[in-house]
């Protein structure tokens, strides 16, 4: 069995890579985790690891050659390695069994005439068989491992992916190797349908590490599907980069108590103001070009029992803090009830994803196309800070991470935007004053 090794995507912006050096030659035996090559990307030279044990069957790209991500660079023969591993394991198992039988026999002899040894009763090899028909050790192993196979569907000693009982039975009947099947159930569990598909030849190529990549969510299948499609599109088409700032939330927390609005409302308000000042961040990247959007529509990521929704706070440039609080609360409620209309989820120009309430310190969000940036909000945690007088004090520090589309924004754009955002949040009185003035007007 051969596995193809392709040019990996080693960074977000990587489109092609250069093989600087091969650490292996054709015919070499390699183990998973071995460094096989040095690859130069647009950013740096990196080492490339083997994902599987095997023998290098062919090297397809010479040193110094540059090829796009995904190009076949080498072929790995994994069958021999697998067989070898299997043989080794079987040998070990056989040895274990022999030892066990030996011990059993000794125990039996010891306790002959007394009650049956409980330890012997517990061993997988039938005590009667061992007692009445002493068999050559090699034969004694076979039925035991067959039994194990029947019980677990596992190849003896082999690491099997999770599979449902029905799938295991079908795999046994149809002689399908579970290790080669991609599971579509929760946690990557292999189901009957997966075996049927595999048997029909629909699964092509080895499904290495497939179980880990399979969907694990028990949430709405439909929502998951939409989110999956959107995220793949975003991840594959947008060259992301990330900038993080730490914000002192002392004043926001103080005001928030009096005003009965949430920390998130302050963040939304500050974001709206910052977007007005750095309108380039409020762009759409379409047809190879970024275009500033006239209106500010903030998409909020709301995690519900059914899945992830992005209701949009529309045309909110003039919203007061209270408007923001009221409207975002109503949208979030609708999201939880599953009552959002398609219109309410369209036309976002900038996304805010807040995981603060989940205790996440900081993270980075994936940009929703055609937007060019997304703000990831962590939780405010007490941290030791040194003030302007050199005195140390504890302040609630919040980490904001901007994911930016490098086609539209540069590092400096992101940094300036975050600096403005930070200044608003560290002096939130401006947000309150502006809001109430407009409310009065």
């Amino acid at each position: 069995m051969a596995t193809e090794i392709t040019m990996p995507k080693l960074s977000d912006t990587m489109e092609e890579g250069t093989i600087l050096k091969w650490h292996v030659a054709e015919g070499d035996r390699i183990a998973r985790g071995d460094i096989i090559a040095e690859v130069e990307t647009d950013k740096a030279a990196m080492e490339m690891e083997a994902f599987e044990d095997g023998t290098v069957a062919a090297i397809k790209v010479a040193e110094g050659e540059t090829v796009p991500v995904g190009t076949l660079i080498a072929i790995l023969d994994v069958a021999a390695a697998k067989q070898e591993k299997k043989d080794k394991e079987e040998k070990q198992e056989k040895k274990d069994k022999e030892e066990k039988q030996e011990t059993e026999k000794e125990e039996k002899e010891e306790k002959k005439g007394t009650a049956r040894a409980p330890a012997a009763a517990k061993t997988p090899v039938k005590p009667e068989a061992a007692e009445e028909e002493p068999q050559p050790a090699a034969q004694g192993v076979a039925p035991a491992s067959r039994k194990e196979e029947a019980m677990t569907g596992a190849r003896p000693g082999g690491q099997t992916p999770p599979a449902s009982p029905a799938a295991r039975r079908l795999a046994r009947e149809k002689n399908v190797d579970l290790a080669r099947v991609r599971g579509s159930g929760p946690g990557g569990r292999i189901l009957v349908a997966d075996i049927e598909q595999a048997e029909a030849g629909a699964v092509k190529g080895p499904a290495t590490a497939s179980s880990a990549a399979a969907p694990t969510s028990g949430k709405s299948v439909k929502i998951r599907r939409i989110v999956a499609r959107k995220m793949v599109e975003a991840w594959e088409t947008i060259p992301h980069f990330y900038v993080t700032v730490a914000v002192d939330m002392t004043d926001v927390i103080r005001f928030r108590k009096d005003l009965k609005v949430s920390i998130n409302d302050f963040i939304v308000a500050a974001t709206i103001r910052s977007l007005q000042e750095h309108s380039w961040v409020n762009s759409h990247h379409l047809d190879g070009e970024a275009v500033e959007q006239a209106r500010i529509n903030i998409a909020m990521a709301v995690a519900t029992d059914r899945g992830l929704y992005n209701p949009v706070l529309k045309d909110c440039a003039a919203f007061s803090l209270r408007d923001i609080s009221r409207k975002s609360q109503s949208l979030a409620e609708k999201a939880h009830l599953g009552k959002l209309t398609p219109e309410e989820m369209q036309d976002g120009t900038f996304t805010i994803s807040n995981m603060g309430m989940l205790g996440v310190e900081s993270f980075s969000a994936i940009i929703t196309p055609p937007q060019v940036a997304a703000l990831a909000v962590g939780t405010a945690r007490g941290e030791l800070v040194v003030d302007e007088h050199g005195e140390s004090t504890i302040a609630p520090i919040l980490r904001l991470t901007l994911s930016a589309d490098h086609r539209a924004l540069d590092g400096a754009d992101a940094a300036e935007f975050l600096a403005t955002l930070k200044s608003y949040l560290e002096a939130p009185v401006v947000l309150i004053a502006c809001g109430s003035a407009e409310e009065e007007a």
Binding site: S164, P165, A166, G185, P186, L191, V192, S220, V221, K222
Partner: protein, 323 residues
């Protein structure tokens, strides 16, 4: 076919059976003059007289004890207990006499007794009037346990229960008396111990009974929108238990969720799961999950009561965990 309520269907069954067999008599609190707390015995006193429709004092142990003796002596009593919770007062009679008499006398006597009792939550009647105790009776061998969900089953099953020579606990849900459905007139029998598929589907089997049948049907509609086709199996009773239908459905769908209104812990859902593990393990594509009521005494407060019992959203959410 006429569309009538569960209440009327039960009344029809009682009336027809009493007409057919003169050894049948009804006894219980308020079954005569008041025509039953839930009006199931309406018109029966007037038609059959007070020798066959007996108002009794508030004394459940006495009602069941008298009925047990009468049944052993050759009559066919139908005892009504005002709610299933009050059956607990008569538990010694039920577990120690009704259930075991036939066994203890080596089959020389039979106890053809039907005990009807309403139960279930949803009407703000508090913890002492609202429980679903079918699992409690199903635990005791010797008792038949029948739990209908639709009017046609209510009539057909009650007639079969009355004709059975074994003691039958016939448990009615208070929330279903007013539910209407088509019911065949006259002789309509539903055999005990046969589950019914109330909705056919191919992706997951919901095993349920009584009012939860309706909750499961609603959940199935919600799931259909997600592309999941749920089959709803109404057990219609717990003893005899129709595992044949459950296992056949499982072979088709490969996934199952049990849905019961009563307390989840040690409930009948667990029994179904255990039997599936023993008899249908190789048919599974996912672990069998359970949905049940909260392990609390049924709250009086309307909102708390509602949240203590499963609803369609909760059933649907649990099902989604399998995909």
């Amino acid at each position: 076919m006429a569309e009538i309520t569960c209440r009327e269907a039960l009344n029809q069954a009682l009336r027809e059976e009493m007409e057919r067999d003169s050894s049948i008599f009804i006894l219980g609190e308020d079954v005569g003059l008041y025509e039953g707390s839930f009006k199931v015995t309406k018109g029966l006193l007037a038609k059959f007289g007070e020798k066959r429709v007996l108002d009794t004092p508030i004394a459940e142990a006495g009602i069941v004890g008298l009925a047990c003796g009468a049944a052993m002596a050759g009559l066919r009593p139908i005892a009504e207990l005002m709610t299933v919770n009050f059956a607990i007062v008569a538990m010694d009679q039920i577990f120690n006499h009704v259930a075991v008499a036939s066994y203890m006398f080596g089959g020389q006597v039979r106890v053809p007794l039907t005990i009807r009792a309403p139960g279930g939550a949803g009407h703000q009647l508090g913890a002492q009037h609202s429980h679903s105790l079918e699992a409690l009776f199903a635990h005791c061998p010797g008792l038949r346990v029948v739990v209908p969900s639709v009017p046609a089953d209510a009539k057909g099953l009650l007639k079969s229960a009355i004709r059975s020579d074994d003691p039958v606990l016939f448990l009615e849900h208070e929330g279903l008396y007013g539910v209407k459905g088509e019911v065949p007139e006259g002789e309509h029998l539903v055999p005990l111990g046969r589950a019914d598929i109330k909705r056919s589907g191919r992706d997951v089997t919901l095993v349920t009974l009584s009012r939860m049948v309706y909750v499961c049907l609603e959940a199935a509609e919600q799931l259909a929108k997600e592309g999941i086709d749920a089959e709803v199996v109404d057990l219609r009773g717990l003893n005899p238990l129709d595992m044949t239908t459950v296992l056949a459905s499982l072979r088709k769908t490969r996934r199952a969720v049990t849905v019961e209104e009563s307390w989840l812990s040690f409930g009948w859902g667990g029994e179904i799961v255990a039997r599936i593990m023993e008899q249908g393990f190789d048919d599974l594509d996912a672990p069998v999950l359970r949905v049940g009521g909260a392990d609390v005494p049924m709250p009086y407060n309307k909102h708390l009561e509602k949240s203590a019992i499963p609803d369609a959203a909760r059933v649907a959410a649990r099902v989604m965990e399998l995909f």
